[in-house]
Symmetry: C2
Subunit: 439 residues, 2 copies
């Protein structure tokens, strides 16, 4: 089955907003056995949206659009698609009632602009929006079935409807065009509650198995060199192996389709695990912070943090993990030396003699924060994020990471000469990996 | 001029990786006067990559591909495009030398896999990779010019080359196909150092002006209702107005093309600023944390943080701003009540009587952290991120935000019933906005 996504939005084409729908929808659809074959983004302009949707309908059984269903003047997807398919827009009373309730609950008058959101193309299935006002819409483009549906529909008038003007005409017996609202917090629950059941009813899932093994400490080329001979026979039998280099880690992705998919992926995983061993920190969606929270939870142990150059990013990543509060006592973000002395008990002598970015200070920060929070483990990070502040002995990107526990403190030195955000991210990953290896 | 982007990568279609190239490239190209008309993503499969590139070349003067140039077996873009265009792959000595240097510097042997990266399509411009091994490639598809280039090239053999097999044939006098490597830290510097000069030489920039005004505290429909009458005449004259709802804020985007673009956008901005007034916290790329750092820097004032439910996210956002260290003393992430008492001086009595999520505790956290860091301002956040922990009086999403300064403490209560990451993000934005309004 071919599945295509059309993301509409001038803000996407101007690069003003990050398109997170592509990843989210592709991921959920793959998990449901429908791998997306193409994703397209176009601006909120009539010709471009219609052309992109028309082309997608010429290739795919399922086309999902995002965006352009809201109340403002640049929300034009609903109208353009109705026009292209020759369907009238008719008011839907369920949507009217839903929007009334939405504003009543918030004690605000319903803005006149929301009127347009109550109009739906004739014969469309309507998905009420649990977290907003604009409904989602689904159109089945199988002509006979469509006629039947129109007969059932309350709003269906007896008037004749122009026939579909798709070009090229679809070669499928049945197609679905699903339109979802743009804001992620509206799209995501709507996909789960309305689109997932629709897909289950209308499309047979294909057998598709995907497993991603996440490794750290080895480069991308070297990872492939290490494993390719061992998985060669499986690749011959239909296993696909993909590699993806990320900041601080390399993903190995094993996928297969059809009856032997699970068996092939399973065999591939066993080989990759055997070869990469402790370099693998997790699989699929595992982030290293989740693995660390899981390990600490299982051991009933706790963690505290003292962050200088990562500026709270390490705490932020840990507290993104549901349940982190059971193991994470807290942390201190200490940019100023005074805070390092006063709150962490770092000695003025160490700061003077070795500088804030030094093994000695990292060590004292870790010990200090472990004592302050009375935690089992403590991680401390101090480094030079740049762009300024580097010296010949300690160039920009220099980092000291200290791990303190009851047995003592271990400090590792790293060089991460990346721009600010990548620097914070890679450094945080290294600190978490240092703790993971200890657990 | 039409510009299209083709992102290749099975990991994108399986939703295993977020596509950040779309936003980054669209943004940079728009800034250079070349608005991207379409972006397409396809899997690393021969037929799909070739079809997508062929279609893009049938529509656009500039096509940029990302990904598929690396050393592993799923990096197939280079070869597929060379094949499609009927160009031989020839070894390039500059690339060989560059890759040798790359590994020599790191004291590692050069992996055999990197051999494929030294092959480039005949006649391609080669962009050496400052932060990796795979070079970028650019092909000019103007037939005559191309022949000339081949004559000059060292690698050019006298052998005849199959003619271009584009379908549909391009209707442009000259086209450029630019291939960039997938990792963002390789793609971005290469775009700046090699693609920007190429575009400046080969394409006349169109006049395009874009201004985004970022507002907070008013919903999307209401924003449009407030401003549309005032900008109507400018819209008639060619101004485009777009709206984008984001967590905690609404962007108003003003764009125009041609000779009067700057004038139209300028007049639109004046109207929007007049009407939305203090709701506008910044423009274009301004994040509210940048505005806050700027304001504090100008006033030579400092800030400390006490975070409970935002778990370090507020500190992380602030420390993403270059120069934040001049105004940000530090912060405490205090998940456990014990840490609130011991490190912030929150009274056990307040915790017992009102609970950790209360106005009283927020107030004492702000005062405590302000005293500990001796800062001018302090923000404290305590709330219930959920999914558990809600009560009828304090449902999930309840947040207290306290702002302490020399004059006293102000506490605001909010309800942010979103999922964990959105909750942290919206709450952090509200805290920063509370401080911004005070500055």
């Amino acid at each position: 089955m071919n599945v295509e996504i059309v993301n509409t939005g001038s803000e996407l084409m101007l690069g003003r907003v990050l398109n997170t729908h592509q990843q989210w929808l592709c991921r959920r659809l793959a998990d449901l056995g429908h791998v997306v074959t193409r994703q397209v983004a176009v601006a909120d302009r009539g010709g471009e949206i219609q052309q992109a949707v028309r082309e997608a309908l010429g290739r795919a059984e399922l086309v999902i659009t995002t965006g352009g269903l809201g109340p403002t003047s640049d929300d034009i997807t609903r109208e353009l698609i109705a026009q292209m398919l020759g369907r009238k827009l008719v008011p839907n009373q369920d949507v009217v009632a839903h929007i009334e309730r939405f504003f009543a609950k918030r004690g605000r008058p319903r803005p006149l602009k929301t009127e347009v959101e109550t109009l739906v193309p004739e014969g469309a299935l309507v998905f009420l929006n649990e977290t907003g006002t604009a409904p989602g819409l689904a159109l089945c483009l199988e002509p006979e079935r469509d006629e039947e549906r129109r007969g059932e529909s309350e709003e269906g008038s007896g008037a004749s409807r122009p026939s579909s003007i798709l070009h090229p005409p679809p070669s499928f017996a049945k197609q679905w065009l699903v339109m979802l609202p743009g804001p992620p917090r509206e799209l995501r629950p709507m996909f789960e509650s309305a689109v997932v059941p629709l897909l289950a009813r209308e499309f047979a899932a294909e057998i598709f198995v995907c497993r991603t093994l996440r490794s750290t400490g080895v480069g991308e080329s070297r990872v492939q060199e290490m494993i390719e001979a061992a998985v060669q026979s499986m690749v011959g039998a239909g296993l696909e192996v993909g590699y993806c280099a990320r900041p601080g880690s390399v993903d190995v992705r094993l996928t297969a389709e059809g009856g032997k998919a699970a068996q092939l992926v399973h065999a591939g995983e066993a080989e990759v695990r055997r070869i990469l061993g402790p370099h693998i920190f997790g699989c699929d969606d595992d982030e290293i912070e989740e693995v660390v929270v899981r390990l600490l939870t299982a051991r009933k142990q706790s963690l505290a943090l003292a962050e200088s150059c990562t500026g709270g990013h390490l705490a932020h990543r840990l507290t993104n993990v549901p349940g982190a509060s059971a193991v994470f006592c807290g942390g201190l973000v200490s940019y100023a030396n005074e805070a390092k002395e006063k709150l962490l008990g770092v000695r003025a002598e160490s700061l003077r003699q070795h500088g804030a970015v030094s093994e000695a200070v990292a060590r004292e920060m870790a010990m200090g924060v472990r004592a302050a929070f009375r935690s089992d483990f403590a991680l401390a990070v101090t480094g030079i994020a740049g762009p300024g502040g580097g010296t010949p002995e300690k160039p920009v990107g220099t980092v000291f990471i200290a791990l303190a526990c009851a047995e003592g403190v271990a400090v590792e030195q790293r060089l991460n000469p990346w721009e600010r955000l990548t620097f914070k991210d890679v450094t945080a990953t290294q600190a978490l990996e240092q703790l993971r290896r200890r657990l």
